[in-house]
């Protein structure tokens, strides 16, 4: 009774009721937040942080700035049309001497060598041969004598281009682009232009694997969705079996199976189908077979869940309305599996894009995918800038794909995909 009176009073003023609702909601929201907080913190440190770090490294460029600060200051006003003035030479000489003393010359040399092949030699030889600070007004001549490269405009534009603190150099390189001596973006020289074809190869392999998974997975998913539960459960265990084995073990198993003295070749030879062992591994075929095997469950499961939702009554209805089996399949069944096909294909494709271990183990030199080069630049040559830039481009492509898929799915939901 009292409660009812109070509510009535609140209704007339509105504000206390709203505030009470907000308070009640806030408690609920805080509880929800507390439940996801551990995962959120974990993801922040293990996922968001590293990705942000990677994106930052793709544009970060402070190595040369740190080693040759005076040179870059002197070049700030240089228009790049002619050789720089005496001041710049003097600043470079003092920078090199200082860097030699602190042992940081190699840092700048490595970075400058990315931009201009042979720069490492120019810098280290200069550092070695420059005994003392040149006398006032003779820096240009002294340096030019030590290494004629200092008389080239390209040498200086390279230093200025690597001045940082941010650079598009790595991202351009990842797309086979570079800046010429005047700073315009041009195609990289053919011997360095490998990344576009690398991305294309990565996409082609991923696409082939996705198509293979779809072709192989669709009938299995259909069977899973239509068999009686006892048998479909058994089949489902077979589908999930690969998940219980390590990726490395499965990939190595393929090596055992497919190598020239492997089970497959031995059987073919024994049956007399071939006269000499087929080359089944360390080529594109091996990569596609092994990757398809590993990724198949990711295709089957979304397909299965979309097919499970399709009532058998639809096919019966189509038949009773006069549709022959193939027509009924194409016009009634297949369109309803499209969300599953989309989800499975996207999942497999995105996973395949980042595949590293399988192509590295069963692929030849011409089958290495982008991840291989990212790993190579990270661990072998320590060119983290380029590795990050390649990663950033891959990430961008993946995000774009996911967005396109999201749009498609959203369209599906607005216009259909509803169940009775």
């Amino acid at each position: 009774m009292t409660d009812a009176l109070l509510t009535g009073a609140d209704a007339s003023t509105e504000v206390p009721l709203k505030r009470r609702l907000r308070r009640a909601e806030r408690t609920r929201q805080l509880k929800a937040l507390a439940l996801v907080a551990p995962l959120l913190v974990f993801l922040l440190f293990t996922f968001a942080g590293p990705i942000a770090g990677m994106l930052w490294r793709a544009v970060d460029d402070r190595e040369v700035r740190q080693v040759l600060p005076n040179t870059l200051a002197a070049l700030a006003a240089w228009d790049g049309k002619d050789l720089p003035d005496e001041n710049a030479y003097a600043a470079l000489a003092s920078d090199i001497l200082a860097a030699r003393a602190s042992g940081t010359i190699a840092i700048a040399a490595k970075r400058l060598n990315y931009a201009l092949n042979g720069f490492r030699t120019i810098l280290t030889s200069t550092a070695r041969n420059l005994k003392a600070e040149p006398e006032r007004g003779t820096a240009r001549e002294t340096l030019g004598r030590i290494n004629p490269a200092w008389r080239e405009r390209t040498t200086w534009t390279t230093i200025k281009g690597a001045g940082g603190p941010l650079t598009s150099f790595y991202l351009l390189a990842a797309l086979d682009l570079t800046r010429n001596v005047d700073g315009a973006i041009v195609a990289a020289p053919p011997d360095q232009a490998i990344y576009r074809s690398l991305f294309a190869r990565t996409f082609i392999i991923s696409l082939s694997v996705t198509v293979l998974c779809l072709i192989l997975g669709f009938p299995v998913a259909y069977l899973l969705a239509t068999l009686p539960p006892a048998r479909s459960n058994l089949l489902m265990i077979f589908v999930l079996l690969p998940f219980w084995t390590s990726l490395l073990v499965r990939t190595c198993a393929w090596i055992v199976l497919l190598q020239s003295k492997g089970v497959v070749n031995d059987s073919l030879l024994w049956l007399g189908i071939v006269d000499e062992p087929l080359r089944l591994i360390y080529n594109r075929f091996g990569v596609c077979v092994a990757m398809t095997h590993v990724l198949l469950p990711f295709m089957i499961l979304p397909l299965y869940s979309s097919m499970k939702a399709i009532s058998p009554a639809y096919m019966r209805a189509a038949a009773s309305l006069g549709a022959p089996p193939l027509t009924a399949f194409l016009r009634i069944y297949l369109p309803q599996t499209l969300p599953g096909i989309g989800a499975g294909s996207l999942l497999v494709f995105i996973l395949a894009l980042g595949y590293y271990i399988t192509p590295a183990l069963v692929g030849g030199a011409a089958d290495q995918m982008i991840s291989y080069f990212i790993a190579l630049y990270t661990t072998e040559t320590a060119n983290w800038g380029l590795a990050s830039a390649l990663g950033a481009v891959l990430l961008l492509a993946t995000v774009l794909l996911a967005l396109v898929y999201g749009k498609l799915v959203q369209g599906q939901q607005v216009t259909g995909g509803m169940k009775n």
């Binding site: 009554a313 189509a318 006069g322 549709a323 027509t327 009924a328 509803m418 009775n420």
Partner: protein, 379 residues
Amino acid sequence: MEAGMVTPAPALVRFSGIQKTYDGEHLVVKNLDLDIRKGEFITLLGPSGSGKTTTLMMLAGFEVPTHGEIYLADRPIKNVPPHKRDIGMVFQNYALFPHLTIAENIAFPLSVRKTNKAEVQARVRAALRMIKMESLAQRRPGQLSGGQQQRVALARALVFNPQLVLMDEPLGALDKRLREQMQLEIKQLHETTGITIVYVTHDQSEALTMSDRIAVFNDGIVQQIDRPDALYEHPVNSFVAHFIGENNVLPGTVEAVDKGYCRVVLAGGGTVTARAINVAGAGASTSLSVRPERVAIVPDDGSGEGPNRLPARVRNTIYLGDHALAVLDVAGNGEFMVKLQPGAHDSLRRGSPRSGSLRPGEDVFITFRPEDCLALDPA
């Protein structure tokens, strides 16, 4: 239709010696012989597992008879696939294609028949007009109510002018009020189009409302095929009597049979005269069937000695709005129902202690005419 009333129309569908088993041991349908006449509305009625749906599915072509042959317009169709049978079907959950619009759903049977575009459009428009849903043509099934989906399913099954329309419990998912409305709409549709409809349901009132004839299924056998009134008034056995409408059962033993009537000694005491419908002869056990509305309650004043006058004790009364039921204890049957007349019902509602109202525990007499009491096979 009119002609059909006078002389039976030729059979459109003939089930001949049909048997069906799924496991090779147990027959779901046992020796079915059934003729479905052109233009009639026939209902296959029965409890679940009685074989009615299997029969419908064999007719539609989704199940193959284990034995026997089905003829559609004198053509054997056992080996004709469903899509070539030219039979429209309305499914339990409508089975409207969720990715197609209402118009596309209705156009589907026409477009798979490669009908030309202009005609498809015209016929879809006519079908939409018939179900009064022209304005919803571009909606998806998921955006419609259950009743609307039901109408679309009907239109889709009728739009290609099939020889026969099958309906598998099409109203099962609707609420009571909507179900009753749709029953009338389907009935009306049948009358205006004159199409042959085979309808499956387990709801006897639905069957009584809509059908020209009802085939009562039980245990894989058709128990009786007849008009709704005949099923109610003249059931051939206990199952039909019990399944169609409310029914009181009194077990007993036949004492004598004479000119279509028999004297039966009740197991719970007392003797009654009943019509001998399905009794083996004197000495056989039987099950008497009396409808609640054919029984009268008379006060215990010792007056009159009718042929069927039995003592009863009032257990309870149930108020049902338009009428009331008295639950009595009669000859060992503790759930003997008697439909009370409106007058009796009035005094009941007032709860007045005057004579004519019934109090629990009160001793009364019931009486019914011999022709309203059927002696059937023991249940």
